[in-house]
């Protein structure tokens, strides 16, 4: 089956010739019209539209946005904050970068609508430190929007006011974790908070109720408000509504970002047709479907079981190529849609070395607060580094898995899973490669094989 056409909702203007990131350009395309109409409605109605839309968070966990909003403590009398997670730190993910650099007003409009819906008077955009240009663009865009009365007090004469500030990170993956982000925003080491009791919806920024939403998620809110939750929910597939930006990197002919209706495009269509297939003379070996912490998929393996289609349960028997790129299907086959970062590895890649690279990332990024992640992530890195640069033992794979098993599910935040899942899945699927790595390493490598560790 040929791949479906892209459905560019969020990325409509990305890379569009002549499209600039200033307010005038945005307004020429109807920018801020949705906000103008939104502030004439009741906030509760807008929340309802988001609930009806079925929008799921685009940051990684895929948590329903409407539910997240409904959990906010609105009785405390404390101010409610909206924090925009623009940390885009999951390796393999590079969608929010383009929104912020090329279409910042789309994000600002989404933020203002979300703030209005949630009666938020102050929002912070926590943007990763590695986007200095993006921060400047956002600040300029906010200033423009403020000058045009779309941000600030009494916006478009509605009596409603809200400020947006840009807050830059400084190179820490853990700031993508919402409570780590909040701590960072409070000027502390970004140690994720224990939950209970510190659920952001109740005890978030400055111990006030706080909503943390991803950049792309908030852009979707703008479109939901525009077309209505009902109409939005018809895009995509049931339970996986709307569009999703898939970021493809690694060993394909045409890496990049592609926006599809969620679940309408399979992994095979994405990689083979949209991205042009493997590099010349190569075959696909493995793919990580949702950012580097998602469990790896091995080309050639089959996923079997029963799944719900409408009201019925039907059998499925999929290869990697057959998996629809939606939250539920990827979860069903044991991985996740995560942040939409698809990392492709072909047969030139040693899985031991690839894992070594990933382990180096997670051990570098572990905040060090809680024991299993702090000690386990570095231990795994030390093992894989030794395997690559020192002596590899046949039993190292089993040891790696055992270490990972002692991390996942036992940490303060989801980083525990994020650093354990790669190891667990690499060993489960490529265990033989780990057992035989000493021999493989000794054999001559093809010219140009990249170093990974």
């Amino acid at each position: 089956m040929p791949a479906p056409e892209q459905h560019r909702l969020i990325f409509r203007h990305i890379d569009e010739p002549g499209y600039t990131n200033d307010l005038a350009c945005y307004q020429r395309g109807g920018g801020y019209e949705v906000l103008k109409k939104a502030v004439l409605r009741k906030p509760e109605e807008l929340m309802d539209e988001v609930k009806k839309s079925g929008l799921r968070g685009r940051g990684g966990a895929g948590f329903p946005c409407g539910v997240k909003w409904s959990l906010v403590d609105r009785k405390s009398g404390k101010p409610i904050y909206l924090v925009v997670n623009a940390d885009e730190s999951e390796p393999g993910t590079f969608k929010d970068r383009y929104i912020m650099h090329q279409d910042p007003h789309q994000l600002i409009e989404g933020i203002m609508i979300s703030c209005f819906a949630n009666k938020v008077a102050c929002a912070y955009i926590y943007i990763r430190g590695e986007f200095p240009e993006g921060a400047k663009i956002l600040e300029k865009a906010i200033a423009e929007a403020r000058a045009a009365n779309f941000v600030g007090p009494n916006i478009v004469g509605s009596g409603y006011g809200c400020e947006i500030y840009v807050h830059r990170g400084a190179g820490a993956y853990i700031c993508g974790e919402e409570t780590g982000l909040i701590e960072s925003l409070e000027g502390k080491r970004p140690y994720p908070r224990i939950k209970p009791p510190y659920f952001p919806a109740v005890l978030g920024l400055y111990q006030c109720p706080t909503i943390v939403n991803n950049v792309e998620t908030l852009c979707h809110v703008k479109h939901i408000t525009d077309m209505g939750g009902e109409a939005y929910s018809k895009i995509g597939t049931p339970g996986n509504t709307g569009t999703r930006i898939l970021c493809v990197s690694g060993h394909v002919q045409r890496p990049g970002y592609y926006e599809f209706e969620v679940g309408k495009c399979t992994m095979g269509q994405l990689l083979n047709e949209v991205c042009g297939g493997p590099l010349p003379g190569r075959t696909f070996k493995a793919v990580i479907p949702g950012g580097s912490s998602a469990k790896v998929l091995k080309f050639g393996e089959r996923y079997k079981g029963k799944r719900k289609v409408g009201a019925d349960m039907v059998d499925y028997d999929w290869g990697v190529e057959d998996i629809p790129m939606d939250f539920d299907s990827l979860a069903m086959i044991g991985s996740m849609g995560g942040s939409g970062g698809v990392i492709v590895m072909d047969d030139s890649v040693s899985m031991v070395e690839a894992l070594g690279n990933i382990n180096a990332f997670y051990s570098h990024e572990s905040c060090g607060q809680c024991t299993p992640c702090r000690e386990g992530s570095l231990w795994m890195k030390k093992i894989t580094t030794r395997m690559v640069h020192g002596t590899a033992r046949p039993e190292d794979g089993a040891l790696l898995k055992s270490v990972a098993d002692q991390i996942a599910g036992r940490t303060i935040c989801a980083f525990g899973e994020a650093c354990a899942w790669p190891t667990q899945s690499f060993i489960a699927k490529f265990g033989d490669e780990f057992k035989g790595y000493a021999q493989a390493k000794a054999a001559p490598r093809p010219e140009g094989t990249p170093e990974l560790v």
């Binding site: 970068r97 993956y173 502390k188 890496p255 580097s292 170093e451 990974l452």
Partner: protein
């Protein structure tokens, strides 16, 4: 500490963005580093005093976040992405090439004082790997050949 008037203005402005002064720690560290090139112990104490914190509160941040440095670096800061998508597209070779071009090692100021080359984690532009940031500029698809080209540009700037 001799901060530029513009930096001081920005510092006073940014503190107003938050209901709690401590929140301005990261913004102040960025501003001071941009102004001074690095974050000295004096700067840490200045920021702490400015935000009514203890110096340890700021020191904890400076040592946590890799983007803050406690020593001066070369004139240009070359940051090569080390993470998976870039690595499988040849990021390590790119990094080695920069080090070779400037006869330097990771994290050190090159002998000519021109650059500091660093490996950094994911820069979130994986579709155009390998990624390099030189100061605040993003450079995409930087293979070894392009690394040489960029190096030559930097050297040419230095020669001027």
């Amino acid at each position: 500490m001799n901060l530029k008037p513009e930096t001081l203005r920005q510092i006073d402005e940014v503190i107003t963005h938050y209901p709690v002064k401590r929140s301005a720690s990261l913004p102040l560290l960025h501003l001071v580093q941009e102004d001074q090139g690095y974050v000295s112990q004096e700067a840490i104490e200045w920021i702490a005093a400015k935000l009514e914190l203890q110096p340890i509160n700021v020191y904890e941040l400076v040592t946590f976040y890799p983007m803050f440095r406690q020593k001066p670096i070369g004139r240009r800061h070359i940051k090569v992405c080390r993470t998976l998508s870039c690595a499988i597209m040849g990021g390590y070779r790119t990094c080695t090439e920069f080090q070779k071009q400037f006869n330097t090692h990771l994290g050190e100021v090159s002998p000519d004082g021109e650059v500091t080359v660093e490996f950094v984690e994911c820069l979130a532009s994986c579709g155009t790997a390998p990624i390099v940031m030189i100061d605040d500029e993003l450079h995409q698809k930087v293979d070894a050949a392009k690394a040489r080209e960029l190096s030559n540009k930097i050297k040419a700037e230095a020669a001027r």
